[in-house]
Amino acid sequence: MKSRTLKRHFAEAFKSLGRNGWMSFASVSAVTVTLLLVGVFLVVLLNLNHLASQIEGDVEIRAYIDRTTKQSEYNDLQQKMEQIPNVNEVKFQSKEDGLQELIKSLGDEGKAFSSLKNENPLPDAFIIKAKKPQDTSTVASEIEKYDHIKKVDYGQGTVERLFKVTGVARNVGLVLIVGLIFTAMFLISNTIKLTILSRRKEIEIMKLVGATNGFIRWPYFIEGFTLGLMGSIIPILVVIFGYEFLHGQVNNQLDTVFVKLLPVYPMVLQLSIMLAVIGGLIGVWGSMTSVRKFLKV
């Protein structure tokens, strides 16, 4: 193909977008509406996932150590724990630090415990973090078997329930997003099919005048891509500015419960690229599948 022909195809595509004004508008609107849904949904899901990860990340195991344990055995114990495959890090917390933390976490009521400083009832402890939060209970039961371990505590029961909830939530989210994308593809391709269906005669004529399939396809390809891309503009703007606004409003309030929303950048940019790509691909896919049907004249 000569470069001037490519130029011609672009000119033809944009001419056609203009002359089929209402049809183009309908296609772009369909893309806009569906990508808006996809975009908003993705923002919500990604943030829920992020929140869940933060909560899950807070899960840790506390292994309390028998008071009778000798100092030299502490190191052995720590090494042994660090060698468990799923363990990320093992920190030692002396009983003094433990009490300090307890007092702090209880706030005003904690002051009552201050008097205990001299006769600290807490044992020394190791704080263990699993590589994957979901492995916590396995690691905990492993550590429980060791000598000198008095008690293992990781919020048994609660944690298992937490993981069940976040797991289910993630799967539901995934199913919803996949369903949404398929619905979007169906909706958009149908609208675009309509616009091209109305051009069945056009394609037939072009073929009778001696145009090759490639020659006919190019402008439709460009047109479909442009329709999809144009449809992604509003969703992208809504995602960027909407999320920036939401982030500013909500994030500070979430601070009180020690979680954060996903930072605005780079997430909105990644989402924008994704929306543009989905829009373009769906546009091309929609126009190409419908053109293919009519090329056999």
Binding site: M1, K2, R4, T5, R8, S16, R19, N20, K201, E202, E204, I205, M206, K207, L208, V209, G210, A211, T212, F215, V297
Partner: protein, 228 residues
């Protein structure tokens, strides 16, 4: 130039439209194809540019057999044949100028040559002043002339027209015929299916009569030969 050997065409619904056609048309000839409605005239000409594929037989155009032509070689072949359709088949979203230019864009002609030749041919059919109009803004005769302009703009050796004067009043029909005469005088082969008794009988050329999918008459300087 154009040669059909034992051409048969049966449509998928079982209608036998052509039943053993043998014909030879020489370069530069002017040929009328006449016959009653449903005789197979349109099928006959459609086979010449492969809108329809014959069930049996061979159709040679400048030595290439259309019946055996591969799908991807069809566009190239169609560019050698200018076709004028009874229903014009103009692209509705393109202007007169753009419709004619399309036939040249397809062969990747340079914009400069396209501009020059399109204006030339629009001048020939007398539509220079309507270059920017859209097909639905034109009368039937004007649309037919656009369709003629498109068919001749790339100087094909053969022009095939199916009832080009079918929807036109006698005066416009004659204007169209003048264009065909001129193209033919330049050496282009013209094949024209028609019901127009007046034209066939006054502008005398070779007449091929088809009835029931067979050639029943083939005379030089022939008559229309049917009552309307």
């Amino acid at each position: 130039m154009i040669e059909m050997k034992d051409v048969w065409k049966t449509y998928p619904n079982g209608v036998m439209a052509l039943n053993g056609i043998d014909i030879y048309i020489d370069k530069g000839e002017f040929v009328y194809v006449v016959g009653p409605s449903g005789a197979g005239k349109s099928t006959f000409v459609k086979c010449m540019y492969r809108e329809e594929k014959p069930t049996k037989g061979s159709i040679l155009i400048q030595g290439t057999d259309l019946a055996k032509l591969r799908e991807r070689h069809i566009p190239k072949m169609r560019r050698k044949i200018g076709v004028i359709f009874q229903d014009f088949k103009l692209l509705p979203k393109l202007t007169v100028y753009e419709n004619v230019a399309f036939a040249l864009e397809v062969i990747e002609e340079s914009p400069k040559v396209i501009r020059q030749r399109v204006m030339e041919v629009l001048d020939l059919v007398g539509l220079k002043n309507k270059a920017r109009s859209f097909p639905d803004e034109l009368s039937g005769g004007e649309q037919q002339r656009v369709s003629i302009a498109r068919s001749i703009v790339n100087h094909p050796p053969v022009i095939i027209a199916d009832e080009p004067t079918g929807n036109l009043d006698p005066e416009t029909a004659w204007e169209i015929m003048d264009i065909f005469k001129e193209i033919n005088e330049r050496g282009t082969t013209v094949v024209m299916a028609t019901h127009n008794k007046d034209i066939v009988n006054s502008f005398k050329k070779r007449v091929i009569a088809i009835e029931g999918g067979r050639i029943v008459r083939d005379e030089q300087k022939g008559e229309y030969g049917y009552e309307i």
